[in-house]
Symmetry: none
DNA sequence: AATGAATGAGTGTTCATTCAT
DNA sequence: CATGAATGAACACTCATTCAT
């Protein structure tokens, strides 16, 4: 398993200030990149949106790629946190899986701009940055693999997609982001529910469990 | 339903030569864009790859956006053709749906570079180009909606995902392209089969039909 | 006195066809240049306006400069012809001068687009073309010098501007073209009359002659 | 009366530096444009002549049109200043008018390159720039209208050219610039004097005043 | 640590001119 | 003689990055 983070060089020593500023930069840059796309957006745009000057910006990052990396890390962490938060404190493996799926689907719909940004611009990352971001995503997929495995061991009959289960459940909900141009006008929560049901059924889950609370 | 094509201006009159050259350009540009990404690739790169001079290139297109549009149209048409070809001459609705899914999944795996390109760069298209390309995709989704409906009417019990069925079956296989960084080393045809089975099961299809020839 | 014409190379032999085509080109180019300016207009624009293809155009001229030269010759010849026509058959020297001035002022107002074009783009001509065009203009100024001299000899007291008379009378009316942005809304013929009276008075012409028919 | 200035965007904040640099740019660009003409001159030429890099140039202007506008404003302001300076502190209306005419004629002769540039390239200005520059010129013409009116009220009999007087006196001296190709070899001050006398006589001014100091 | 002006390589696009058919 | 596709040099403009203050 490779490291899910990458070191970013800085001109400034104060570590806590670096953390603060980088969060500020990531937040602003995400906004700008969502609006204009990574390549179209300029460093000037990002600096302005973050309330910094160009020069100051470069005290906390070394290149435009660094900014894109910060954004990826940040946005990815957000939807992961959504899922973790949803299952925190839950014990029943079946309920945990179902809750995780629901939280993930919801995040994909609500954070559609962020997700679209990730899927569109990951390829624009430099080699090292991409490696780190994909490692982060891989950990997330592994997390779901664990949840599925636990549910299976718990007696939830799920023999569907023995090899791809974790991939599938972490990919299909992305549809709510990437097909937003089609789904803009459908009922959001209903779509989430339909998707989760589809996933569970595809996994081979019995009907009476699919629709539980 | 809006038009799935857009007119591209040209300086050249001979229509058949335009067709020929544009195919040549689309093919070369797809290669270049897959390698470097749309924004990083230069017009010079495309011209060179197509064996044309910059000036000649601009006799057949009017802007870089035109090239991206040509590429989108071309690549989209290819996987659509794969699917159509797979079901040509088939009569049984259930078999047609299954064959269409298999062909689509296969195309997504084999044409992974093309598909990734589409998903990454559609947002870089100009307004009109994007409209046309999405209309083309929408027609494809509608095609699957028809196939599903026919199978249902034919008695294939499929009450899963009543509203999103066509979206789901045209999106999940895209995973074979966009998750290639993870799936590079799995058995391709097996993955396709697993995916198709997952989809049919999710749609509520009985097990004995899922695994038919 | 240097030649008021310049030879333009051609790929075509038939002299009468050359004359014909070049007239056609000059007329079309004048239209295009008036609309867009010489530098902004393209050879394509000119060819289209003339109903020729680019290739054919180049059978009758050798460069864009040739076209500008043709236009200058043509437009200059037109206002000169206006003046000549106005005094053709007149015998009285004072009446001839007055009629020439009136015709010239009128031409400057009515052909304002042509005149503005000449004054704006003469500097864009190549060395040889400019020389020829200025020689043509110089002949015109000399013509007026002759008219003034004749009127003086005839007893019209005109001792004003002994050295610059011909320059002045051939320049001031140009105002009706170059100040069109200000004079667009004044009464045209009245302005012409006022200008001519101003010129005659400035030349020292007695009031009773200034206002003659 | 519309505004005789137009705002030019800048990437730089220090206002005094902007003033300084723009003056430097206008001066250098005027030189380059006089030599090669606006369209033939490149941004590189201008930057080089101004001792700046291309990038730096664009920190102070936004487009080539901005440069042409700066040049127009600057050159127009110069000859206007010449006239104002010549009549500063003079009280007698007739003397003021005569002095203004002499100063203007002199400026037209001495600044012939600038004036020719203005007359050749005003049409190349963008809509807004042209509007501003013509407003500036219009103010100048109105200034002369005021001087003439004052002289008339003061008893200087000047009933010639009741409607066009200000236009005429601000246009005819331009001849010293635009006909320089003919007048290069005549005595400059004598030509100015002859021109001024012609104008005053044309306005209906009595001979004894025309030749005053 | 913050500022913001300077840099210059690089980009999409245009167009006068040529020339094979 | 007409056609119209090919050419490629050139141009205006952008922007990530640096660095003196």
């Amino acid at each position: 398993m490779s490291a899910a983070t990458r070191v970013i060089g800085a001109q400034v020593k104060d570590e806590s200030r670096i953390q603060e500023r980088r969060a500020q930069i990531a937040e602003a840059a995400a906004r700008v990149f969502r609006d204009k796309g990574f390549h179209t957006a300029t460093i000037r745009d990002v600096a302005e949106a973050a309330g910094l000057t160009q020069g100051t910006l470069y005290n906390y990052i070394r290149s435009k790629d660094d900014i894109l990396y910060l954004v990826h890390q940040d946005l990815t962490a957000r939807y992961i946190a959504d899922v973790e938060q949803a299952i925190a404190g839950m014990a029943d493996p079946r309920a945990r899986l179902r809750a995780a799926l629901r939280a993930f689907a919801r995040a994909m719909r609500e954070r559609h701009g962020d997700i679209a940004l990730i899927y569109q611009e990951t390829h624009a990352l430099g080699r090292e940055s991409r490696r780190a971001v994909l490692a982060q995503t891989e950990n997330f997929i592994a997390r779901f693999a664990g949840l599925i495995e636990a549910a299976r061991r718990d007696g939830m009959a799920m023999d569907g997609a023995p090899n791809l289960a974790a991939d599938i459940v972490t990919f299909l909900p992305v549809m709510l982001s990437l097909r937003r141009w089609r789904l803009r006008h459908v009922d959001g929560p209903a779509a989430e529910e339909e998707l989760v049901a589809f996933l569970l059924r595809g996994l081979g889950c019995p009907e009476e469990i699919i629709h539980g609370a």
